[in-house]
């Protein structure tokens, strides 16, 4: 070794001329210097060889089996807020604690220190997990940032966190059907969540541009307070009337905005294990029903709008109508000639059929299409059902459709159609905020002012004297129409299974809102009481209006608690 070093050490520069010559001669013959070069090359070769060998060795080896399972890329989504900025859906980051037991130095100490931060940690189980010597174990899912920070401060080697975006719905089931759902990858699969994705968010996420901070919250037209009241009332109604389902909607007549809409039974979007169940669908927009007598609003509106009928016209309802094998009878039969208001408030099937007859089959069909009752509704929610109607309309169809049997439509569309009768303008419903001016640009005039005035009068009259008495709310001038439809069981109309609805508008001097409620198969509240729409669906509407009118900005007025006044236009 010493000899080698000596050879490597350079000779001192101070030397006489002769030696230099001698050395030069030696170099020429390849003496000591050659040795040195070879030696240097060998050393470097050895070093690089070792490095290369090590690289190959490391390259061939399988990486140690550790670390959390492959990360799921959970995309950021914008918050969803209601019209007042209350959060309906938001992303929260949750951290989950994992450990790599192989790298844990002292399992005893680690467990003890973790237990200080997480008091509810199972001590024994955690200790066993940390001792197991496996590559990876979950210790605790979904910690708060505070807990995460405290654990980080402990500085235990061999533990780590995995953060994940999780969609959180503070309201739970309150607005479940409107807000919708996301899947495990944070992609919208139902309701407005799906609508937001379809508007380009999905593309944004795919290109990696969806940055959580730059996404503006999506504002809906929903008012969380009204939404809660509405859902609370229908949930209570299901209990009270022992029904199988109920639903309601509050719709702004002037703007077409849906202020609140719910259908129970529903689901908790934070834990949507049952969201796909058949009976939990959104009945208001995705359920098709024969709306029953609420359809008489359209029949009467159509008759008035045709110009062939005025409020003073009379129809003979003294005898049942026989057509083919069917007999059309009245539920509250008066057995005499009825005026148009009487047909409406006594909910006369015969009278409504006569009204439809006056207009004719083609006119009837055209009117319902004009109001959008039989079209597929255009709105943001993806869950929308297409109404059904007879392929070919015959006389019998027109007669039954006059009192709401023979066509199925969604309750939301019925509400939109009634809003058109109250204002004369058909405005597509929306779940996004819209001003009255914006609504006017897409509004279509569908009925005349005379029809509007007449329908307002009839609604008010029906709530004061007719079947909608129980929908009255002092101060808020409610008007409306009941609908008690018999359900089809095994192809026949059943006598004891009903589908009830009530459509109301308020305040009637200048209608602002439509409130429509439905209840499926209600039973009498107490034995001996009725189970028609007037005694359940109307009560739901009254409760919703009583509790929410002040939030909807409707001022109570007790000056109008008198006879309805018929306003007529020349």
């Amino acid at each position: 070794m010493k000899a080698l070093l000596k050879k490597l050490i350079r000779r001192p520069a101070a030397a006489d001329q002769t030696e230099i010559i001698v050395e030069g001669a030696r170099k020429a013959t390849g003496g000591k210097a050659r040795n040195r070069v070879v030696m240097t090359m060998a050393v470097f070769l050895a070093i690089y060889g070792a490095i290369a060998g090590r690289l190959v060795y490391l390259g061939m080896q399988e990486p140690a089996d550790s670390g959390p399972p492959g990360s799921r890329v959970t995309a950021s989504r914008p918050d969803i807020v209601d019209r007042n900025g209350e959060v309906l859906a938001t992303d929260i980051k949750t951290a989950s604690l994992f450990a790599e037991p192989r790298r844990i130095v002292d399992a005893d100490e680690a467990t003890e220190r973790l237990a200080n931060v997480l008091p509810d940690l199972d001590y024994e189980q955690t200790y066993r997990k940390l001792k197991s010597g496996t590559g990876f174990v979950w210790l605790k899912r979904q910690l708060t940032p505070k807990q995460q920070n405290e654990i980080m401060a402990l500085g235990i080697p061999g533990i780590g966190f995995r953060t994940e975006n999780r969609r959180f719905y503070p309201g739970g089931e309150t607005a479940a059907h409107i807000v919708g759902l996301v899947n495990v990858d944070n992609q919208g699969i139902a309701g407005m969540e799906k609508y937001i994705d379809d508007q380009g968010l999905a593309d944004l996420q795919a290109s990696g541009l969806a940055d959580a901070k730059e996404l503006q919250p999506v504002k809906l037209s929903i008012d969380l307070r009204v939404q809660y009241i509405l859902r609370d009332e229908i949930a209570a109604a299901i209990q009270r009337y022992n029904a199988i389902a109920a639903g309601a909607v509050v719709l702004s007549i002037k703007t077409g905005e849906v202020l609140a809409m719910a259908s129970v039974p529903d689901f908790d979007p934070n834990n949507p294990y049952n969201a796909q169940d058949k009976d939990r669908l959104n009945r208001m927009s995705a359920g098709l029903y024969e709306m029953g007598s609420t359809f008489k609003s359209f029949t009467t509106g159509m008759a008035l709008d045709s110009g062939k009928v005025t409020l003073e016209s009379r129809f003979d309802a003294s005898r049942p109508i026989r057509i083919g094998r069917q007999t059309i009878n009245d539920f509250h039969g008066k057995g005499r000639v009825l005026t148009v208001p009487e047909v409406f408030i006594y909910s006369s099937n015969i009278g409504s059929a006569r009204e439809a007859e006056t207009v004719g089959i083609e006119g009837h069909r055209e009117f319902l299409h004009r109001l959008g009752i039989l079209e597929r509704m255009q709105t943001e929610l993806p869950e929308v059902a297409k109404p059904t109607e007879p392929k070919v309309w015959k006389q019998v169809h027109s007669i039954t459709i006059a009192f709401g049997h023979g066509v199925s439509t969604t309750p939301l569309q019925t509400a939109v159609g009634c809003a058109a009768l109250m204002s004369g303008l058909l405005i597509e419903p929306t779940f996004l905020p819209r001003t009255a001016d914006e609504a006017m640009t897409s509004a279509k005039r569908v009925v005349s002012d005379y029809t509007v005035a007449g329908m307002r009068y009839l609604y008010r009259l029906n709530a004061e004297k007719g079947s909608g008495k129980r929908a009255q709310v002092p101060g808020y001038r409610v008007g409306g129409k009941t609908g008690t439809a018999e359900k089809v069981v095994n192809g026949r109309y059943s006598n004891d299974k009903r589908f009830n609805a009530f459509v109301a508008a308020f305040p009637m001097d200048d209608p602002q809102y439509i409130v429509l409620s439905i209840i499926d198969e209600p039973k009498p509240e107490k034995p001996g009481m009725g189970a028609t729409a007037g005694s359940n669906a109307a009560v739901i509407v009254a409760n919703i209006i009583r509790r929410s009118a002040s939030m909807l900005g409707v001022k109570p007025d007790f000056g109008h608690e008198n006879e309805p006044i018929l306003v007529s236009y020349p």
């Binding site: 209350e86 959060v87 938001t90 992303d91 929260i92 980051k93 708060t144 940032p145 505070k146 920070n149 959180f168 503070p170 309201g171 739970g172 309150t174 901070k213 969380l224 307070r225 809660y228 009241i229 609370d232 709310v473 002092p474 101060g475 808020y476 009583r546 509790r547 009118a549 002040s550 001022k555 109570p556 007790f558």
Partner: protein, 124 residues
């Protein structure tokens, strides 16, 4: 033999190396600091998100309803009736009360105090 210029150059080189090292070290320190602050900002932002979610959970109408039901008796809470809602304009104007001065001389106005203003018509 080292010449003076060598010495100077070596000194310059060493000090330049020292300066570079120092700058790099300080830059690394700053970067570490930035990373730490960024982590803190992220933590705060996440906390804000969580607190917002918490706040909306605490102000849910369903929760407030439960609370009012619980404290209804204790706080004597009652639902607002429509008749209790009104605007300022709905209030009747406060009736104006006019005192009857007619029984007193000069409406009683001259009796209150001595008039300090002296005019020529008043006898000295």
């Amino acid at each position: 033999m080292f010449r003076t210029s060598d010495m100077v150059l070596i000194a310059v080189m060493v000090s330049a190396a020292a300066f570079t090292y120092n700058t790099k070290h300080r830059a690394e320190d700053k970067l570490a600091e930035i990373r730490k602050i960024e982590a803190e900002i992220r933590y705060e932002q996440d906390s804000i998100d969580l607190l917002k979610a918490d706040w909306s959970l605490l102000t849910q109408p369903s929760r407030l309803q439960k609370l009012t039901d619980i404290y209804e008796a204790e706080l004597k809470l009652q639902p607002v009736e429509a008749s209790q809602i009104g605007a300022i304009e709905d209030l009747p104007v406060k009736p104006v009360e006019i005192e009857d001065f007619s029984t007193q001389r000069l409406g009683g106005m001259a009796d209150n105090a001595k008039d300090h203003t002296v005019t020529g018509a008043v006898l000295q």
